[in-house]
Symmetry: C2
Subunit: 131 residues, 2 copies
């Protein structure tokens, strides 16, 4: 089991995130999980989320304003390049990494790039036809 022991709490958290079609907040995870594990404590979710983050299995997002969401990574070295619908919060991947082209010129200036992220917000096709 990645990131420690295989508890049913952790199983549920992973499966909830894996099956979600968009990033979830701690509360959303909690509200889903209590249906199956009514006695689970929120601190358990916080602790497991930390473990999963440390083990690079999930990633953290700041969507709208200050709300924090988590998403299961398909590939451990995914890096954040997303198109997010403000309505339904669906997350699409960017097909290419537009940073790659300008990376060289930035590094030429003496800046060492450690990570980068790109986020595009808007309204997806589906939501715009339903409005």
């Amino acid at each position: 089991m990645p990131g420690g022991r295989n508890t049913k709490q952790k199983q549920h958290i992973i499966s909830i995130l894996k099956n979600a079609d968009r990033p979830l907040s701690i509360n959303e995870i909690y509200n889903k999980i209590i249906k199956h594990l009514p006695r689970i404590a929120k601190s358990t979710i916080y602790r497991n989320i930390d473990l999963l983050l440390e083990n690079n299995l999930i990633e953290k997002f700041h969507l709208n304003d200050s709300e924090i969401f988590y998403r299961f990574k398909e590939h451990r070295n995914d890096h954040a390049h997303y198109i997010i619908c403000n309505e339904c919060k669906s997350v699409y991947n960017l097909p290419t990494c537009p940073i790659r082209e300008i990376e060289a010129s930035i590094e030429a200036e003496g800046f060492t790039i450690k990570e980068h992220q790109i986020q595009i917000n808007g309204i997806c096709k589906h939501c715009s036809t339903n409005m």
Copy 2:
């Protein structure tokens, strides 16, 4: 005065942000401002920051992990395209917007882009020579 009345609290907050060479957190603003206005309440800073955000004079960042920072906008329609040094937190602007080139293809898929942001983190020239 943009965003309401011209109080000395607001004057100070604006001038602190204008003169900062990097984004500042609420606490950093507070610690600077109490030197001049010892009785200022943190809630006043929160309220003014909200006002300035609504009036599009400053913008909000999530730097490292969950720390929130604010920065004075040079131009009201600046959009976030930054290169940030993880060490000294200096913020540099990206010379070009690499999104522009892929915008058309995303919109062609039926997605309406509302806003986007790009953030590149790393170590700046100055900090890497001092290590």
